[in-house]
């Protein structure tokens, strides 16, 4: 029985059920009862007629019977097929994994062969034969069951082989290689040319290697000390003192000027360190070579043993400016000193005199640029080198800083004298004139030869100091300035003051300062410095030669590698040609004799 799909049985039943329920509610009980009874009877009657279970059960039974019959048939077939397949496996296992000796005479040391029967399932039965040289596969031959050669593979390496497929007409020849180069196979040079080139490059390579060895020996013999040519701290880790830094700078600059034969005309100008600039350049050149060598070592020559630093320290811009200023100051002091010594009779004259500070450590004090002691008194001089380009100069420039120095120096001198055990000085200090002993001077030195007038010098007088030009210095020190209180010291007193302030100065030191540099470990011997510079020059040259050799070695190695690739390619191509010739010859032979005795022509 079929109900139309679109009616959708259960939906119709639900709608009718609802209508019936509504009508049942509206009607009398009697009518409802009759309707329910009649409806129930109708339902039972129709259900009885429609139900056809028996037919369904019978159909199921019949289906099961036929199904069982089919399964039995299939099982029978499978069992029989399996028996045959097992027999086939037995046949193939007799060949597989079994090695047969390769008895045909050959000059390739071919000694073993194996056979496999292969069934692709579509009646394409074929035999695979593999021939080995020791344990390396050399030939793979595929035959049909009628002993027709189908495929011929000749291996050069496990990944490189020639393959001929005779199933196709005409036969298809292919070459498989793992070579990944950018070689133009059509324009390969002859093997003889490549061999000759390789030979000569190899020879050159050996020569270069010998040269590198020689250079290494030369460098080792030089035993270069190239860690750093200047130091920032002494062996105790302390900053260098001013006088150490100044004297080392003067020695370094003057020695290097002589070494490079330089004659600058102005020691106060900004470019007043041509000698050190040259030395710096010398070390920079060495640095370039050291860095190049270190790079080569890390990248290409890891086993190269050279006892050299990777890089040496360079002077910074800040260092150079500070050194230039220091040198200018030192030169200015020398000029002052020289000027003073023009009339230095009966005077004590000195540079960089250290006097004790009232609140400082024992034997440590402040440094006075120039000091003169004469019968006119004590003259501590603050030397100021300035760039002066006009006819007048304002002396109050930098007044704050200078006045601080003046006061400090004056106090320090007075304190040092008070500490003196000399009876002459002790007696002098008790005289009223003692308070007028110290006459501070500030000398302005122009960095250029420009003549100038000093202006605004009055503020210095507040501290009992005089600001003056270098040309006026002699007059002030010898005659005493107009505004100075006249002091007339005895020769004995001058001598006592000289001894206390200047001679004893050697036993005192100024404080160390950051930025003070000492060159070549404070070496003062010119010959030693010259020898060091010679060594640096020579080492740079020798390193340059060695680096050139190493660079060349790298280039040469690349060329040799490239030639070897060409050589391999040429040899490979030769073998490919041989492989195809073999394949063709074998095919022709097999065409004649379809025989599993395999009368060989694969060699």
């Amino acid at each position: 029985m079929k109900i139309k799909g679109s009616l959708n049985g259960w939906k119709v039943a639900v709608v009718l059920g609802l209508i019936t329920l509504l009508l049942l509610l509206k009607n009398s009980l009697l009518v409802d009862g009759i309707a329910i009874i009649v409806g129930g009877l109708v339902y039972l009657a129709i259900s009885y007629f429609l139900k056809d279970k028996q037919r369904l059960v019978e159909q199921k039974k019949s289906l099961d019977t036929i199904n069982q019959q089919l399964t039995t048939l299939k099982n029978n077939q499978d069992q029989q097929l399996k028996t045959i397949t097992d027999q086939q496996d037995q046949v193939t296992s007799k060949l597989e994994n079994q090695h047969f000796s390769y008895d045909f005479p050959n000059n390739e040391n071919l000694s073993v062969q194996t056979y496999e029967i292969n069934d692709s399932g579509k009646q394409n039965l074929f035999v695979v034969r593999k021939v080995f040289e020791a344990d390396k596969l050399r030939y793979r031959l595929v035959y049909s069951k009628d002993a027709h050669i189908l495929q011929y593979w000749q291996y050069l390496t496990p990944d490189t082989y020639t393959q001929a497929d005779f199933e196709k007409t005409p036969p298809k020849y292919e070459y498989h290689s793992n070579y990944e180069g950018t070689l133009d196979l059509n324009n390969l040079p002859s093997i003889e040319t490549v061999n000759t080139q390789l030979q000569s490059k190899d020879w050159y390579y050996q020569q270069l290697k010998n040269k590198v060895r020689h250079q290494l020996a030369v460098i080792e013999k030089m035993n270069p000390q190239t860690s750093s040519w200047f130091l920032r701290k002494d062996t105790d880790g302390q900053w260098f003192k001013d006088h150490q830094a100044s004297s080392s700078l003067l020695v370094a600059e003057k020695t290097s000027r002589r070494y490079f034969d330089l004659h600058p005309d102005n020691d106060l100008a900004p470019n007043n360190l041509p000698g050190l600039a040259k030395v710096e350049k010398l070390y920079s050149n060495l640095n370039v070579q050291l860095k190049h060598l270190a790079d080569l070592k890390t990248t290409y020559f890891k086993n190269l043993k050279v006892n050299l630093p990777a890089e040496i320290n360079n002077l910074t811009e800040h260092d150079l400016t500070a050194l230039s200023n220091r040198f200018a100051a030192e030169s200015a002091k020398s000029m002052v000193d020289q000027k003073l010594r023009e009339n230095g009779k009966n005077k004590f004259i000195a540079e960089d005199v250290v006097v004790l500070l009232p609140d400082g450590k024992a034997n440590e004090g402040t440094q006075i640029d120039n000091l003169v002691i004469s019968d006119k008194g004590i003259f501590p001089i603050e030397t100021e080198e300035r760039t002066i380009n006009s006819k007048s100069y304002n002396a109050s420039n930098g007044y704050q800083e200078i006045s601080k120095q003046i006061i400090e120096h004056k106090n320090a001198i007075e304190y040092t004298l008070k500490q003196s055990q000399d009876p002459v000085i002790q007696k002098l200090l008790q005289k009223p004139i003692a308070q007028y002993l110290v006459h501070s001077l500030v000398v302005f030195v122009g960095k250029s030869s420009q003549d100038f007038e000093l202006k605004n010098t009055k503020p210095y007088l507040e501290h009992g100091a005089h600001a003056l030009r270098l040309s006026d210095l002699q007059e002030v020190v010898s005659e005493g300035g107009d505004s100075l209180v006249a002091v007339d010291l005895t020769r004995e007193e001058v001598k006592a003051l000289g001894n206390e302030l200047i001679k004893n100065s050697k036993n005192r030191t100024a404080e160390g300062r950051a930025g003070n540099l000492v060159f070549w470990n404070g070496e003062t011997n010119e010959n030693v410095i010259n020898h060091t510079l010679d060594t640096v020059k020579d080492l740079t040259k020798q390193l340059e030669i060695m680096n050139d050799c190493l660079d060349h070695l790298i280039e040469l190695q690349e060329e040799i590698d490239n030639l070897k690739v060409q050589q391999d390619a040429i040899n490979e191509i030769k073998q490919v040609d041989t492989g195809f010739t073999h394949a063709r010859r074998y095919y022709e032979n097999q065409q004649k004799t379809h025989d599993y005795s395999f009368v060989d022509s694969i060699i």
Binding site: M1, K2, I3, G9, W10, V12, A13, L16, G17, T20, L23, L24, K26, N27, S28, L30, V31, D32, I34, A35, V38, G39, G40, V42, Y43, L44, I46, S47, L50, K51, D52, K53, R55, L56, Q59, S62, L63, I66, N67, Q69, L70, L73, K74, Q77, L81, I84, Q87, Q88, V91, T92, K94, L95, F100, Y115, I117, D119, Q123, L125, K145, Y596
Partner: protein, 76 residues
């Protein structure tokens, strides 16, 4: 005849046997398979009809009940 030739021949022989066996048994299997397919189809139809047949008695009995409720009310 060498070992390889013998193996190939034996293998081919067995392959032929396989083909022969399939040739003999396959028609019967195919025939029964076809019969199974037909029986199955009929069985499925019966099952479907059985399932759908549930609604028809309900619907008819309800229609009759509605008719009784609508028209016999006035007579009784």
């Amino acid at each position: 005849m060498n070992k390889v030739q013998k193996a190939v021949q034996d293998f081919s022989e067995l392959q032929k046997q396989k083909e022969e066996l399939i040739k003999q048994t396959q028609p019967e299997i195919d025939k029964v398979s076809k019969k199974v397919a037909n029986e199955k189809k009929y069985y499925d139809q019966l099952l479907k009809a059985q399932e759908r047949g549930i609604y028809l008695p309900i619907i008819i009995s309800m229609v009759i009940m509605i008719i009784i409720l609508l028209f016999l009310k006035n007579i009784i």
